[in-house]
Each structure stands twice: as structure tokens, then as C-alpha cells.
């Protein structure tokens, strides 16, 4: 092997995909197999005891899924990754690994609606309490931490649809002062635009369904860990206690920096079960090959569309942090110098009626509940993705009732602008 630090674009194409040793297949083979034969009973015993590496059953590990995992870990600058069947399950296995009944989580209130309900409904019912912080100031997160009970701090690199940017370095300092990890959902940013681990985050989770896969075809999630957090700091005793079902090992004692990810796979994937399907991993890994080029095109188009919207008299506000008018413009320049992705909200003059009219009259933008597709997507959050939230939660999440959310695709920017322009005209005529 060459002793070289390969660039981002090279790793997007190659990381995790050394040609298959048996066949020499250059593309990533799809190992569509539930289970894998053992060489002997001795081999089986050693694999089950985690004494050697080897495939057992695709709920735990699968060679196609492993390629996707290594590729994302490489791009994020992490130690490794564990892939899951969706972004929500990536978060769930992470939270389930670190917090149990009686524990506490500090999270931004400015989260994806499904993340809010995962924490506020399901995990709360399991005895894990979450304090949602309606502030962008790390000091307010610090104030919400309960020493000994709080197990992690959670925020999104780029919130949606507010377009707010997390102060990742500030939140990392707050978490580390309490000897707990900072977990960042970086779905909207992707590692091309921001690598949270470089700013001090310990764990990065993604809905790979969005920009990583990139084509709106495949559900998936992934957890990346830095390998830097000290899991032997006594705030997480499960890492230091003897594990009877794995022959008396201790996760930290036997695996050191590999403890979190090894346990996440051998315990949380084993017990909770949201494995990524091999065929899905193939599609997602193929999507990642073009991530740098797509993200650059998404950001370039987002800039054109956001600037056009802001200059248009029919528009009230545009929540894209790439614009100098956004309250987090400076943060965006710090954390996302190429641009703050292409998912953002804007408010049309005339409120709810004009917003709905706009969505009903677009021809190119697709009206659906997803983001991060090559195609431009549009939706009205208050009546769809965020419908399960209360009025107060909507306000805390920065969701104006007349707000329209756009996920700018990689079509010709002029065509996206043409479509929005004619739809706004039609909406105003109809209103």
C-alpha cells in the first residue's frame, strides 16, 4: 500500500472497496446472505466470543454493509462506523448504548420532528428523560446538564427548516467539561461540507437516506465514532463492567478505543436489530462515490435560489445561513465554508394560503416528505413533517406556519428558479 493520505474525492470512490479477494470483482459485490459458514467449531466459538473477526449473521455484520461503513468512517475522519436501517435507528442504537432508565439527555429543541418524538415519546417512556434547549448558546446547554445523570449532548449541524447552525466546538467543550460525549446529526451537512469530529464531536449520526445516498432510493443510517472519547471515565460503567455473555471480557479493557463501536455492533445491533440490508448498502455506497460533486452542485444551486428568493418582493424571509442576513451566517462560514447545504425554509408573503398555493403549482419541484435527493423537493412542514409537534414545539423549532421547505436539487438552477417563479405567480393569482 502507498503511504499517502488520499484526498476526499479519492476516498469517496475507493475507501472500503478493495477488490474482492476471491473473484477480483472491481465493483462492490452484494453479499445477499443472511449467514456465513464457519470454518470449524473452534472458528465459530472464536467469532462468537469476539476473539477474532469474522462474519456470523447479517444482523451483526455483512461484507457489503462493511464497505459502506468504512467509506463513511473514512470521509468523516472517524475510527469506524456502524450502519443501520435508517437514520432514526442510527440515533436509537446510539442513545440506547449510552443512556438507560433514570438517565438524561440534553438536546437542541431545533431537531428533525422524528428525532424530537424519539426522545420525547419513546425514550421518555423507557425512563430516559430529555431536556430540549431552545437556544443556540452552548452555555444554555451547560446549564441543562445534570451531573451524573446526563449521558450525552445532541444537536444537528444544520437544523431544518430554520437553517440554524450548531456551534459544534462550543457544544463539545460543554459536553467534555461534564465528561460526556457530543453526538451530532450531520445528515444535512454530509462530510463534504462539515466534519464534526474535526470540531470536537465524539459521535456523528446520519440519515444516509438523504445526501449520502443522494438519489431518494434507499433508507439507511450510520453511526461514526471518533475513537477519542474516554469510555473508562466512570460515567459509563457498562464499558468497564464484566460482560458475562461475552466470556467475561470488559468492553474498554479488551477493546480500548474500539470499545464504543464494538459494543454498538455486538450488543445494540444484536439486541435491537435494525441492520442495513446488503442491497441498500450497495446503493448507498455507490451514492457516496459522487458525494463531493453532488454536494458542490447542491450548494451552488442553493446559493442561486436563496439569493433569488431573498431579492424577490413576494418573499418575506429566507432561512439559508449562506446569506449574510441569516443569524448564523458567521457560524456557517466557520463550520461550513463551502456552503450550508441546500435544505432551507422560506416564508412567502401572504402566509399559509400562498405557501400552499406555491406547492400546488410547482411543476419541477416534487411535493414529498424527504430531503437530500438529486431532485428539487418542496413541502409545507407545519402540515406534514412537523405536524406531530405542538404549537410551542413548532415555535421552538423555528417553524413558521406559512413556511415552505425546499431541498434544492442538482437540476439547472435557472429551471428551479423558473419553476418557483411561475408557481408564486399562480399562487398569488389564486389567493
Amino acid at each position: 500500500m502507498a503511504d499517502r493520505d488520499y484526498g476526499f474525492r479519492t476516498r469517496a470512490v475507493h475507501a472500503g472497496n478493495v477488490p474482492d479477494s476471491a473473484t477480483g470483482a472491481r465493483a462492490l459485490p452484494i453479499y445477499q446472505s443472511s449467514a456465513f459458514v464457519f470454518d470449524s467449531t473452534e472458528d465459530a466459538a472464536a467469532r462468537f466470543a469476539l476473539q477474532k473477526y469474522g462474519n456470523i449473521y447479517s444482523r451483526l455484520a455483512n461484507p457489503t454493509v462493511a464497505s459502506f461503513e468504512e467509506r463513511v468512517a473514512s470521509l468523516e475522519g472517524g475510527l469506524g462506523a456502524v450502519a443501520t436501517s435508517s437514520g432514526l435507528s442510527a440515533q436509537f442504537v446510539t442513545f440506547a448504548s449510552l443512556a438507560g432508565a433514570g438517565d438524561h439527555i440534553v438536546a437542541s429543541s431545533n431537531l428533525y420532528g422524528g428525532s424530537v418524538t424519539q426522545l420525547d415519546v419513546t425514550l421518555r417512556r423507557f425512563g430516559v428523560e430529555t431536556t430540549f434547549v431552545a437556544s443556540d448558546d452552548p452555555a444554555d446547554y451547560a446549564a441543562a446538564i445534570i451531573p451524573g445523570r446526563t449521558k450525552l449532548v445532541f444537536a444537528e449541524t444544520i437544523a431544518n427548516p430554520s437553517g440554524d447552525i450548531a456551534d459544534i466546538a462550543g457544544l463539545a467543550d460543554v459536553a467534555h467539561a461534564a465528561s460526556i460525549p457530543l453526538v451530532i446529526d450531520s445528515t444535512i451537512a454530509t462530510p463534504y461540507l462539515c466534519r464534526p469530529i474535526e470540531w470536537g464531536a465524539d459521535i456523528v449520526v446520519h440519515s444516509a437516506t438523504k445526501f449520502l445516498g443522494g438519489h431518494g432510493t434507499t433508507l439507511g443510517g450510520v453511526v461514526v465514532e471518533s475513537g477519542r472519547f474516554d469510555w473508562s471515565n466512570h460515567n459509563f460503567p457498562l464499558f468497564e463492567e464484566t460482560v458475562a455473555h461475552y466470556g467475561g471480557l470488559t468492553w474498554y479493557g479488551n477493546f480500548g478505543e474500539y470499545a464504543f463501536l464494538t459494543r454498538l455492533r455486538a450488543e445494540q445491533l444484536r439486541d435491537i436489530g435494525p441492520a442495513l440490508a446488503p442491497h441498500s448498502a450497495f446503493l448507498l455506497a455507490q451514492g457516496v462515490e459522487t458525494l463531493p460533486y453532488r454536494m458542490q452542485a447542491h450548494v451552488d444551486n442553493a446559493r442561486r435560489v436563496a439569493e433569488w428568493l431573498e431579492a424577490d418582493p413576494r418573499i418575506e424571509t429566507v432561512n439559508w445561513a449562506g446569506l449574510p442576513s441569516h443569524r448564523h451566517h458567521e457560524r456557517a462560514q466557520q463550520y461550513l465554508p463551502i456552503g450550508p447545504s441546500s435544505v432551507f425554509g422560506f416564508v412567502v408573503k401572504g402566509g399559509r394560503a400562498v405557501g400552499q398555493g406555491l406547492i400546488e403549482n410547482v411543476n419541477l419541484a416534487s411535493h414529498l416528505a424527504n430531503i437530500g435527493d438529486a431532485k428539487t423537493l418542496i413541502i409545507h412542514p407545519a402540515s406534514t413533517t412537523h405536524a406531530q409537534l405542538t404549537e410551542q414545539q413548532l415555535v421552538d423549532g423555528g417553524v413558521h406556519p406559512g413556511l415552505v421547505r425546499l431541498s434544492v436539487g442538482i437540476e439547472d438552477a435557472d429551471d428551479i428558479i423558473f419553476d418557483l417563479d411561475q408557481a408564486l405567480d399562480a399562487a398569488l393569482k389564486g389567493a
Partner: protein, 193 residues
């Protein structure tokens, strides 16, 4: 993978130039870890060491299945082509093979001596390695003794330190990849066996 269960102390160099042993998990040990000056072989060089070797002796091998050295022994026996020897004067058999009292009792001179001993023991292990004529001493993950490393190198030894031979072998031979870890391997050639 780590030897945290066997090496509970680290030999550190203090600001006044003196060295002492302190608990490896202490904040001081962690602070001083960031001030290391010895640099071991690169990824490419480590791969070369592993590829050239035909035999590995594990000094400080344990018959206890929960210990890291047992994990490393199992892995090397089953997932590599090395001839693997266990050295432990207090054991008779480990993983179905005889445990030897010292390096000098082995039936051959091993290419790599893999060490699970506390940091302050490393200089005497290096003397044993030199005495039998093995070319490489591999000090396991979590063990750091800069003075000993420099001493070994001055006597012509290849020294790897604070790295797990299981993890490094698995990095280049597919095991780490299977578990979703970043191996750093970018290659258009088939995986080496």
C-alpha cells in the same frame, strides 16, 4: 485488543527529565501522552513487518479467556499464517499449545516478539529479545516506554509500541474492514492474505 487489563502503569518522562511509573489512566499520564517524541514505524512499514514475519512469540500470554493477550493469541492462531508461541513461566498450556518459560526455550527464534508486560518491564524484555536474536519487538497497545524503545533501536531492533498486533494485522488483512472500521487501505489490488 488493548492490554489495559495487564498494563496498569505507564512510564512517563516528567518536565524535570526524570521518569517514573504512574497509573496509565491518570490525567497526568494522558497529558504526557500528548508530549511523546518517539515515532514508530509508519503504516506501510508496519505492513512490511507483518508480511515478512513467519513466527510470533507472545510474551506475557495469559490462559485467561477474558484477557487481551488471549484474544490476540486466538486471532493470530486462526486468522494468520504465523507460527505462534506463548511465553509465560506460570502457565503450562495456552490455547492448546505449550507455554514456554522464556524466549530462550522456544524451538525457533521468533520474527516478532509481541509483549504484554507493564511499561517498566519493557527494558528487561528487550534484553531478552536481543539475547535470542529476534529482529522485532512489538509492544502492545496501551504500553509506552520511550527510553526502552530508543534503547532497543540503538541495539538494532525494529520497535513497534502502543499498537495492537491483532488490530494492525486485521487492518491490512480484512478483519477490521469487516467490522466497519477505517483501515486507511486504498488499493486497486486484491486483498492480501
Amino acid at each position: 485488543m488493548s492490554d489495559a487489563t495487564t498494563a496498569d502503569t505507564a512510564t512517563v518522562t516528567l518536565a524535570n527529565g526524570l521518569t517514573c511509573d504512574i497509573p496509565a489512566s491518570s490525567p497526568l499520564a494522558k497529558l504526557l501522552k500528548s508530549q511523546r517524541t518517539w515515532v514508530g514505524p509508519s503504516a506501510k512499514e508496519r505492513l512490511g513487518i507483518l508480511r515478512r514475519a513467519k513466527s510470533v512469540a507472545i510474551v506475557g500470554a495469559s490462559p485467561n479467556p477474558a484477557r487481551s493477550s488471549y484474544f490476540v493469541g486466538t486471532y493470530l492462531q486462526q486468522s494468520s499464517n504465523y507460527r505462534v508461541y506463548f511465553v509465560n513461566p506460570n502457565a503450562t498450556e495456552i490455547l492448546g499449545h505449550p507455554a514456554y518459560p522464556d524466549l530462550a526455550s522456544l524451538p525457533e527464534v521468533p520474527d516478532i516478539v509481541d509483549v504484554f508486560r507493564k511499561a517498566s518491564d519493557i527494558p528487561s524484555v528487550i534484553d531478552d529479545v536481543l539475547a535470542v536474536g529476534a529482529p522485532t519487538v512489538w509492544v502492545q497497545l496501551g504500553i509506552w516506554n520511550e527510553e526502552a524503545a530508543r534503547y532497543g533501536e540503538s541495539k538494532g531492533l525494529t520497535v513497534v509500541m502502543d499498537r495492537c498486533i491483532k488490530v494492525e494485522h486485521a487492518r491490512f488483512h480484512g478483519g477490521l474492514h469487516l467490522m466497519g472500521f477505517d483501515t486507511g487501505v486504498i488499493s486497486a489490488k486484491k486483498q492480501v492474505r
